[in-house]
Amino acid sequence: MHPAFSVIFLTTLIGAGQGLFLALFSAQAYTELNLLPSMSDTNFFGLGSLFALILMMGGLIASVFHLGHPERAWRSATKWRTSWLSREVIALPFMMLMITIYGVMHWFGLDGIIYSSATGNNFSYSLLVAGSIGAIAAFILFVCTGMIYACIKFLQEWATPFTIINYALFGTASGFTLAAAFSSFYDAADMTKFFTVWAIILTVLVLLTRLASLFRNSRIKHKSSMQSAIGIRHPQIQQKAMGMQGGSYNTREYFHGKTKAFLKSVKYIFMVLVFPIPVILLAMGLDTADSGLLVAAFVVQYAGLIFERWYFFAQANHPQNLYYQTV
């Protein structure tokens, strides 16, 4: 496929936004469970939510560039029964709404205790209502975004649970890394540690799942072939003319137009940028809670994700390409 930057930014930005929100949510949950000391600065969750929202907005704006007719974008919510894209279009603003509610509750202190446990833990509205609905929405959104790609069964590189798992884990990992960097600006070492440790765990986890998907994709046997594409049984078939020489939508949308070597180097770049460097920076930041290191970890990881997503598109081999061998 031809990687579209609008879609690359959409998926990476909203992923990080969702991840950041999940990080905030879990931090709040930990504190309310007394597993973490509570955050002294009450703006933390509000501002954090704003960041998450900004990331989601950024994604949304990027996605608009992908549309031929953004003014009609509202229509895209109508087919949620069948279309994962439509579902995403619903889930995304819903997610954003929940983040907004969550953030507003924190920022304006509109919170209250909904339930106090016997052990003396106080659970707030923001956590149990806005936060948990938001968290569920985040997972739904991950599934929707992932399924947009995973449901196209003949894009075999995409049609796997890994697509959803990786989307979710990449988003969460980058969100936690961002949360670590963000929290380091506050006087909350424990919380920063919490985010950092989880960021490392999630990054390692997604390294495993991404490696697994790379391994899987390297061994894909494509079901379609020249033979099935034109219905001729002969081992030697070569296209000699595509029917047009100046190219068409089909030669632009589905080909990355880059060399194999380029593709390979993108893979190595993202493997380095997304995993080891952030992990090292995070580990280094673990003790020092040095904002510089943690911000760097996020920036590097996010940059890596752009490469990762580029590669995700470029690696996918659309069967239509059998008909358009750019001859």
Binding site: Q238, M244, Q245, G246
Partner: protein, 966 residues
């Protein structure tokens, strides 16, 4: 269905019929207009030719009509500008006519042959040829000489008809169809309609071609052959057919000269001529007199042919009473082909001997065992009644793969003879004629034959083109040197029935045989695709004498588009498109006849001319009137015809002849056909009838027309032909033998110049023979081991469709198609840059591997490559950067040899251009070379009056023009 744009049905819609001219096939089309813009062009379902279908080009007519490459103003080269630079200023038509009138009047009054008129892919030679004749110049020809004159002559001199527009395979009833050397051809849509029907009816389709594209793709069997060697294949097939007795004996005896006895006395001046019974009274005329002899089996003695009850031997050598040794034509043919065994041909053609033998057997067996008997009674010219028409359902079609070789004439004669041996001439399932064919062998029209036929202020004595029957018909002077600028009908190419347009510029430039003054080019891209040696020809057009005058002093080009050639003109005449003018596909020219009878057709404008465009026909009528040419003026010198439509209705070939350009609805009220007084409403009647007139002959006149008394009498009555005499097939060609006798000094009359004697003697063989193409004979084949060819792309017409925004998306540049083994031997990569080089030139081009080409051959689509800036294409256009023209490799003249220094690269019999003879070598283009084609040319500017090209086209009829360029 919801729409963002207006509905198709909105707007004011009109439907008009006319005839397509996106190519020379001339299908009937129905043009739907919306708000005066072309909404849709479809095939006319009621048209006999295309029956409603249309092709890629025809369906892209809109993009031609609204092309920004259209010329819209008469243009004059700016004082001092170089030719080819395209530096023009706009002038008025009045000025243009004044300039032409002055110049041409002077030439006509002094030396009319200094005016030359050459026309390209047009179909209005009836008018242009007549204009030339009226003007008095012999220097007129159309594209036929470089196109397929071998096909025309090879067959017409053998069977009295030809493929092409004048006949074809009857695929409706055929069982076995062999297509040789055809990629697309003129009969584009009808051939496709017929071919698919044929295949669906279970017919077997074999294609003989070095390349497998288009039609060949759907062949049941592809027989790859080395270019230029089909003669060997066909002669080997002849060998097998005769050796096995797989020929139609009765057909050969009755309808050909196979059993006629030929003088074999080497000492006789009549050697090689038919023995004639001199006492017999036979009429004089342009036909075969029936005074020749058979050797009768019953009486075992010679008899006059077609003697009732006689049954001649087909084979055998005999001695006449007076001691003259004689042999039958068939015996001579048999002896001729004895050495041409399948094994011999295999080595030459690259086709296994078993395949050749099998092909011959297949043909023979199908012809013999799948006979068709149609219950159609007819009477032959000898008065014999037949209850049925017999068909041997094997048919052939061939085109430029045979024609465009310098050995093509004899190859095509071989093919005609194979067809004849199988008994398939004008019979169901075989070859069938289309009116006005068959014609006598050769047809009666003769070219002028003396320099005295060209006189100031006098029409030419004869038509500029014709069909020589003997050396006396040659158009040479007292020194046996050519009179025409293209040397047609000279000893270099005696039977050049269509002229040699491909040598016109070179000869005029060199002043050989003389200098001319004004060259007028109509609808031909002679600075590009219709010239061999294109780069040099472009230089010649711009070359000057010592005194600064151009070597060809004045060049007039009439074109509808900004072609490469237009850039060289001194005066440019902007023509209309086919949707803007009246045209006639006339019986006097190349009608669109069908097997069932004559058909002619017209074009009627469906949209008004763009800008100041004027139909070339109107230019001719205007010039003819201004110059006072007899056919265009009344006795008192006043103008005779208002305009072309008026001319078409009222012109008669001779006063009162009743023969005019159109054959339908003649007579005062349109009650007559073929012949009759002018009918003032003729155009309306054509318009009402889908722009076509189709005359259906009675069934009994539709077959065996060479010998069909009913048909021949009908044709005579309707002035299609002068004689109702049989047209027997010339297995043995006495016409050719006469030229050979002259070359041998055994014949009085015109004599070949010494340097050409041997050439004429060798090639004017009365029986077909195989020889390598001239270029192959004169090339170092180790150095240039490959053949290079072009193919017609179905979705492009010659050079003229690159201005078409839709068609150019299909072919925007071309590749050199090459077999991987051939390419890899030279390190050439698939899709990589390579060189192809001949003795004459070289091109850098892109390679494309192909398994569908004989490994000794490379090929490309014809004329996709363009000169930069021509056709109003941007200089970045693929056509001029990646596309290339093969013509740069092909020379218009042979290397110096014993026949002379400047002998045309053409068939020595007919002057057919040897396009496909070129031999090349290939090698990889180095990595540091520019990644672009070679040669390239300076970018042409936009000419005055041309539209700026749009950066985007969003055609929507009824709204397009208003929106204008974006």
């Amino acid at each position: 269905m919801n729409t963002t744009t207006a509905n198709a049905g909105d707007g004011r819609t009109e439907v008009k019929n006319t005839t397509c001219y996106m190519c020379a096939c001339r299908c009937g089309i129905r043009v739907t207009l919306r708000d005066n813009e072309v909404r849709y062009i479809q095939g006319n379902p009621d048209h006999p030719l295309n029956k409603g279908v249309i092709c890629a080009k025809g369906a892209s007519g809109i993009m031609k009509q609204y092309s920004p490459a259209r010329l819209t103003k008469p243009l004059m080269r700016k004082e001092g500008a170089e030719r080819g630079a395209g530096d023009f200023e706009e002038i008025s038509w009045d000025k243009a006519f004044d300039v032409m009138e002055e110049r041409l009047r002077h030439l006509r009054g002094t030396d009319p042959k200094k005016f030359a008129l050459f026309t390209g892919r047009d179909q209005m030679q009836a008018l242009t040829g007549m204009f030339a004749k009226q003007f008095g110049t012999p220097n007129y020809a159309a594209h036929g000489g470089f196109c397929s004159v071998n096909m025309a002559t090879g067959m017409i001199y053998t069977i009295g008809g030809s493929f092409w527009e004048f006949g074809g395979p009857d695929l409706e009833r055929s069982r076995l169809f062999i297509m040789i050397g055809t990629a697309e051809d003129h009969h584009s849509n009808p051939m496709k309609i017929a071919l698919s029907k044929f295949k669906r009816n279970g017919g077997r389709f074999i294609s003989v071609n070095p390349v497998r594209t288009g039609y060949s793709a759907i062949a049941d069997e592809w027989v790859p052959i080395k270019p230029g060697t089909d003669g060997a294949l066909l002669l080997a097939i002849t060998n097998v057919l005769i050796a096995q007795g797989l020929y139609d004996r009765e057909f050969l005896v009755q309808y050909t000269n196979a059993a006629e006895l030929v003088n074999q006395d080497p000492d006789s001046d009549e050697f090689g001529m038919f023995i004639r019974n001199k006492e017999l009274e036979v009429g004089e005329g342009c036909f075969d007199p029936e005074n020749k002899l058979w050797w009768d089996r019953n009486e075992n003695k010679p008899v006059i042919t077609h003697t009732k009850g006689a049954d001649p031997f087909l084979l055998g050598s005999y001695t006449l009473e007076n001691g003259t040794a004689v042999k039958s034509s068939m015996q001579l043919l048999k002896e001729r082909v004895e050495e041409y065994t399948p094994e011999w041909a295999a080595a030459i053609t690259g086709i296994p001997a078993e395949t050749i033998t099998r092909l011959a057997h297949e043909m023979g067996i199908v012809a013999r065992d799948e006979k068709i008997e149609l219950p159609i009674a007819w009477t032959d010219v000898w008065g014999n009644d037949h209850d049925t028409v017999t068909g041997n359902p094997v048919s052939f079609h061939a085109m430029r793969g045979l024609a465009a070789h310098s050995n093509g004439f004899q190859t095509i004669r071989s093919l005609s003879i194979v067809m004849t041996l199988l008994g398939t001439i004008d019979r169901p399932g075989g070859f069938r004629h289309k009116a006005p064919f068959p014609r006598p062998i050769p047809p009666c029209a003769k070219p002028p034959n003396s320099p005295d036929d060209v006189k100031p202020n006098t029409p030419l004595n004869g038509m500029p083109l014709g069909w020589p029957a003997s050396p006396d018909d040659l158009f040479v002077d007292e020194n046996n040197e050519p009179v025409r600028i293209d040397k047609a009908f000279s000893w270099e190419f005696p039977l050049s029935a269509h002229g040699l347009m491909h040598n016109a510029i070179t000869n005029a430039w060199r002043g050989d045989p003389y200098k001319i003054d004004t060259l007028m080019i109509f609808m031909a891209n002679m600075a590009w695709n219709s010239s061999m040696n294109t780069s040099e020809v472009r230089k010649m057009l711009n070359d000057k004498e010592e005194n600064g005058e151009f070597k060809i002093p004045f060049l007039i080009v009439c074109d509808a588009f900004q072609s490469e050639t237009v850039a060289f003109a001194d005066l440019v005449l902007p023509d209309t498109t086919y949707l803007e003018r009246h045209d006639v596909m006339s019986m006097l020219d190349r009608p669109i006849s069908e097997f069932e009878g004559p058909v002619d057709s017209v074009r009627i404008p469906v949209v008004p001319p763009k800008g100041d465009c004027k139909p070339f026909q109107e230019v001719i009528i205007e010039l003819g009137s201004r110059l006072g040419l007899p056919a265009f003026t009344n006795k008192d010198g006043s103008r005779k015809y208002r305009d072309y439509p008026d001319f078409v209705v009222n012109f008669e070939t001779a006063p009162g002849s009743g023969i005019g350009f159109l054959s339908g609805w003649r007579g005062k009220g349109g009650e007559k056909f073929m012949k009759g007084e002018p009918n003032p409403s003729q155009w309306e009647m054509y318009e009402k009838n889908d722009c076509v007139y189709h005359h259906h002959l009675p069934k009994s006149y539709q077959y065996m027309r060479n010998w069909n008394k009913g048909y021949l009498t009908w044709a005579q009555d309707h002035s299609l032909t002068r004689y109702a005499e049989p047209i027997n097939v010339h297995i043995y060609s006495e016409v050719l033998q006469q030229f050979r006798l002259a070359a041998e000094g055994k014949r009085k009359g015109k004599q070949p110049p010494e340097h050409l004697r041997e050439r004429v003697r060798e090639h004017f063989d009365p029986l077909p023979f195989y020889s390598e193409t001239l270029e192959s004979q004169l090339t170092d084949k180790h150095k240039y081991p490959l053949n290079a060819l072009t193919q017609r792309p179905m979705a492009m017409y010659h050079s003229w469709d690159s201005q078409n925004a839709w068609l150019r998306q299909i072919h925007t540049h071309n590749y050199m198609h090459i077999h991987p083994s051939t390419a890899q031997a030279q390190g050439i990569e698939d899709g990589g840059w390579m060189w192809a080089e001949s003795m004459h030139g070289k091109v850098r081009c892109l390679a494309r591997y192909s398994e569908a080409v004989e490994p000794g051959t490379i090929w490309t689509w014809n004329s996709i490559g363009k000169a930069s800036g021509a056709w109003n294409l941007d200089k970045s256009a693929n056509e001029s950067n990646k596309g290339f023209l093969l013509n740069h490799l092909i020379s218009e003249e042979l290397p110096k040899n014993e026949c002379g220094e400047h002998v045309s690269n053409s068939d020595p019999i007919t002057g057919q251009a040897g396009w496909y003879d070129v031999r090349v070598r290939v090698y990889k283009a180095e990595d540091d070379e520019p990644k672009e084609t070679f040669p390239t040319f300076d970018t042409l500017p936009l000419f005055p009056g041309m539209e700026k090209r749009r950066s985007i086209v969003r055609y929507f009829a009824g709204k397009f023009a208003k929106k204008g360029a974006k």
